[in-house]
């Protein structure tokens, strides 16, 4: 069964078609259509219960590359992994990468993904120079930020609903080596985090923090963690060989391996890991994509799956709001394996439904525990809504239509660009 990464919901599709050439007519319209890349989003943004999925993994061809300018055009099913393998040895890098490189270009555009360098480089869509969009009526639109700004703003972050993204032209950034200079440091509380962040973000294009959301800091409040910063290195270290470890979770354990005991232990151990306050050389793979070294890591939650909860809070509410969210999580005792806190830069994403915007974002994950989990989510929702924040559609399986509409006020304007034959579980759910 085709699912998204967290394996909730499990839904049946009427048809699944693998596309293997661009310009191919889309299948007939007895069911709504939706493109599916590598299924690394969460929830039902890439699912289309009762409808058709158009698998794009075979649309993975390069089309053109200019080695002088670093501008690349490829089919939308090409993965960031493929693109990095191609670009890095040639001295170029993908300008914005999410926490996994196993996503397609089309998925990165459709969710207007962000990375640890958001405060420096903005979201993925800001680096897209052109794309082609196949509509169900057979039309192929050439979409560019200047030539067709409305279609561009609808399609970037448009959750695959404006049609099939067939090709993407992306501006890469130059790098000298595959290596980064990276440092990390513990902090005791969120106050310390904000201070650290204000100092670090000017100098370090990549920053991120992990929060221990189970064990309080020395002053008794939740919010201790590890802050890391990095930049692309200008020279490679003397020992410049790097081999990514290839581990995998081979099968579904009968019950989730993530429970109160293992969570507390994991958070404790993670906090105790060695930190490196002075910058040192780290290969980009483990720094940018630590979880990619463990294939199928989603299996640790067992067959039932898990939830991600990622929100953004606007600047005026970020400090109190983040503390309130963490306190609510701690009080629930449900904890999260990896709580990631990151301050976004001052610009909103280019899409009508772009998630990145000024403020701070927190990502949490929780094993599926039925009512107990939903109860916690409702409490978190209230904090987000009161703060004027939003949830990330790419990681959502359950937000209410009200929360979606308040978080994405341009949704009605966006709706007029949705292809009449395209839809998704997410879209039907939030526009009910």
């Amino acid at each position: 069964m085709t699912t998204s990464w967290n394996r909730i919901p499990r839904v049946a599709h009427a048809a699944e078609v693998t596309l293997n050439r661009r310009g191919q007519p889309l299948p007939g319209a007895s069911h709504p259509l939706l493109a599916y890349g590598l299924g690394r989003s969460y929830g039902d943004v890439c699912l289309n219960p009762g409808g058709s999925l158009l698998h794009t993994r075979d649309l993975d061809r390069f089309i053109a590359f200019d080695p002088d300018t670093g501008r690349i055009t490829a089919e939308a099913g090409l993965t960031l992994d493929d693109l990095l393998r191609f670009a890095v040895p040639r001295g170029w890098f993908v300008p914005v990468v999410p926490g996994t490189r196993f996503v397609t270009l089309g998925g990165a555009v459709a969710n207007d993904v962000h990375g640890k360098n958001h405060h420096h480089a903005g979201s993925f869509g800001e680096h897209v120079r052109a794309l082609t969009l196949r509509r169900s009526n057979g039309e192929c639109l050439e979409v560019t930020p200047d030539g067709t700004p409305d279609w561009f703003a609808a399609t970037v972050g448009g959750l695959g609903l404006t049609g099939l993204i067939e090709t993407v032209t992306l501006q890469l950034i130059p790098v000298r080596t595959p290596w980064m200079r990276a440092w990390s440091q513990r902090f005791d509380s969120l106050d310390e985090f904000w201070e650290l962040d204000a100092r670090a973000e000017r100098e370090w294009p990549y920053t991120v923090a992990w929060i221990d959301c189970l064990n309080p800091g020395p002053r008794g409040e939740i919010g201790r963690g590890i802050y890391s910063g990095a930049r692309h290195a200008t020279t490679a270290p003397a020992r410049n060989q790097y081999r990514e470890p290839r581990r995998a979770i081979p099968l579904d354990p009968p019950v989730s391996l993530v429970n109160r005991v293992t969570l507390r232990l994991f958070n404790q151990l993670y906090y105790r890991q060695s930190v490196h306050p002075t910058a040192r050389a780290v290969h980009h793979l483990p720094w940018l994509f630590p979880l990619d070294a463990i294939r199928h890591w989603n299996r640790i939650y067992g067959y039932k799956g898990f939830y991600q909860y990622q929100c953004v809070l606007p600047p005026h509410a970020q400090k109190d709001g983040m503390q309130a969210l963490l306190d609510a999580v701690a009080a629930s005792g449900q904890g999260s394996f990896l709580a990631v806190l990151k301050r976004f830069g001052d610009r909103a994403g280019p899409g009508m439904l772009s998630f990145p915007r000024p403020g701070a974002t927190l990502a949490l994950d929780f094993p599926e525990r039925g009512n107990e989990t939903e109860h916690l989510f409702r409490r978190l929702d209230r904090i987000v809504q009161e703060a004027g924040g939003a949830l990330y559609p790419a990681k959502d399986a359950r937000m209410s239509p009200e929360l979606f509409r308040s978080g994405f006020p341009r949704w009605e304007e966006f709706a007029s660009f949705v292809d009449s034959e395209f839809s998704s579980g997410f879209w039907r759910r939030v526009t009910k």
Partner: protein, 254 residues
Amino acid sequence: MNRLQSVVILGATSAIATAVARELAEHGARLFLIARDGERLETLLQDLRVRGDDASGTRILGTTADLADIDAHADVWAQAQEALGNNIDAVLLAWGTLPDQEACNASVATTLEAIHVNGTSGIAFLARIAPDFEQRGRGVIAAIGSVAGDRGRQSNYVYGTAKGMLATYLQGLRNRLFFSGVDVVTIKPGFVRTPMTEGFNRAGALWAEPETVARGIVKAMRRGSDVAYLPWIWWGIMTVIRLIPEYLFKRLKL
């Protein structure tokens, strides 16, 4: 170790052949590709030229031909030799179809057509190019067979017959060309997630990605292996399957 610096790939738009071509292009090889569908060939050439840093399109070339048409072989081979400057290191035969066994059961013509596409036409091409390799006294000839050729099963034996015939031909050719220093490699992939097998239930550990199989093919061609089961686990599986006595095997529903 064989050089794979100039390689001809026939049936190049198949998923496995495409993955092989990418692997070789990324290592800077000169390629000549043959495929039936001109539009798909063109998009593949474009992709390979980016991967192989051949913006001018001088090292990575191709032509369209229906390789089931034996009359086209002479011209295709002449074009390949010309494009690669009469200095071909390796040839990979990768064209074929997966016939519907039920349809074959219902039609003699369909059966013979499937055997032609997957077996005889390949043999015809091999017979044509063998003297050139023999004369030059070096190089690799590789062809994609199948584990299905190792034993006839009711669900897939027309395909199996063609691939088995191809394998036996390659065996003889290997023996003949050994004395001129030419390696003949029989590739036997197991289950691979390609458009050819779409519609099968492809979950499970035995299904491999085309990229994995392609890496194995390139390695086998470099080494000049005789027979390469890909992934290697299929060597074990097929050994067991071949050992089942026929009076038992005929009762199985495989």
